[in-house]
Amino acid sequence: MIAIVDYGMGNVASVSTAFKRLGHDVLLTDNADELEQASHIILPGVGSFQAAVEEIDKRSLRNPLQHLAKEKPFLGICLGMQLLFTEGYEGGVSSGLDIIPGTVEKIETDYLLPHIGWNALNIKTGNKAFKPFQDQHVYFVHSFEARTDSSNLVASAEYGTEIPAIVKRDNVLGIQFHPEKSGEVGVEILKAFLQSN
């Protein structure tokens, strides 16, 4: 059973369908006990960092999520990826889940913002599971990006600056783009996450 954390930050129907297409049972929940029963934890999210942190704290999910990230395959998508980091600067400074050291800051580029559209992945060496996705296009929509140590970086996208696209630390994976909106490539990336854990 794959649990998708449903904490009021955006529609989770597409993410849920993507995992169902891969043959998995999916549970949408904001209940810590139910999350504890799941095989995999998915933290999605669309909206602002600060609003998401408030929703997580309102549901007392901060400690359970930090704990789950230590023991289960854990995937953050888009805003859910950004929440994995220590601190976010969107809508004021707020504390993230601090599962991966780093900050979330406005993208610094001469190109248009938001970074909306299909961009190509550049996979860092030594990430076998993601090597097949080199130069594949995936769908991004965001104005803030993760700043973290390069050792946590699996893939990036070129946008006048190197935007972290996939990050990984132990059993925790973060994906800045929307795999559930990235056609067949996106579904394959979700499959790679499930298989790598």
Binding site: G10, N11, A13, S14, S16, T17, A18, V46, G47, S48, Y111, L112, L113, P114, H115, I116, G117, W118, N119, A120, H137, Y139, F140, V141, H142, S143, E158, Y159, H178, E180, K181, S182, G183, E184, V185, G186, V187
Partner: protein, 255 residues
């Protein structure tokens, strides 16, 4: 690098995709979800639904279509048409739309843009602008391109950006339906006026109109409706033409 996006648009009336050059002679083409799904499998980079329903029942049906699309289509989709209030925006996003387009209501009340962007983020707010050339520049048109607001279109897109629009969907009333190509001059003028992505619309009659607008302007995406309907041209033909002419596109749908 980010690619140029190719976007088919589906006009939906009372739950059915329709085609027609004017509102009196509309022809039903089929089911919106099935058509959106087929386009996404063919390599469409995004889908736009324009709801032209005249009734409340039609609007309610659109919500069901959005819900169905969200679980059947795996590329982003935008819904516009008849979005008047923040409640309309909320309903469409909750149903699963990735972005919501607003047009006349935003002109009448620009705060609709700022309120929507503040609540949901600029990335999901698309401001649709219908522009027509006059002696003193381009004017914003409303009511399906028939009513001149007298507002300068270039000024208006700047205002829309400042209020929090994440994207501009620009339709040239002059080229719309003419099928002789996108309005290159208007498109570049709007692209130059803002720092957010612009989608060009109006005038596409054949595949190489896409490569033309991508090569001759700095627009981020192009939209067409009728050329994709009833298999007149396929997304693949557009992508093959772009690829041949060196336009950076997503390969899905090419092979």
């Amino acid at each position: 690098m980010i690619v140029k996006r190719i976007i088919p648009c589906l006009d939906v009336k009372e739950g059915k995709v329709v085609k027609g050059t004017n509102f009196v002679s509309l022809r039903e083409l089929g089911d919106p979800v099935a058509m959106a799904s087929a386009y996404s499998k063919d390599g469409a980079d995004e889908i736009i639904f324009l709801d032209i329903s005249a009734t409340n029942e039609g609007r309610q049906t659109m919500i069901d279509i959005v819900r169905e699309t969200a679980v059947n289509v795996f590329v982003p989709f935008t819904v516009g048409g008849g979005v008047k209030t923040i409640d309309d925006v909320t309903r469409l996003l909750r149903a699963g739309a990735d972005k919501v387009g607003m047009n006349s209501a935003a002109v009448a009340n620009p705060e609709l843009i700022s309120e929507s962007a503040a609540r949901f983020g600029a990335q999901c707010i698309v401001v649709a602008v219908d522009a027509k050339r006059f002696e003193d520049g381009w004017h914003v048109m409303t009511h399906g391109g028939s009513k001149d607001t007298g507002i300068d279109a270039i000024e208006w897109v700047r205002t829309a950006e400042q209020k929090g629009a994440g994207e501009i969907l620009l339709t040239s009333v002059d080229t719309d339906g003419v099928k002789d190509g996108f309005d290159l001059e208007l498109t570049q003028a709007v692209v130059d006026a803002v720092r957010i992505p612009v989608i060009a619309s109006g005038g596409c009659g054949k595949p190489d109109h896409f490569s033309e607008v991508f090569r001759k302007t700095d627009v981020s995406a192009g939209l067409a409706a009728s050329i994709f309907h009833e298999n007149t041209f396929s997304i693949k033909e557009v992508k093959e033409d772009c690829n041949k002419k060196g336009v950076n596109i997503r390969e899905a749908g090419l092979l």
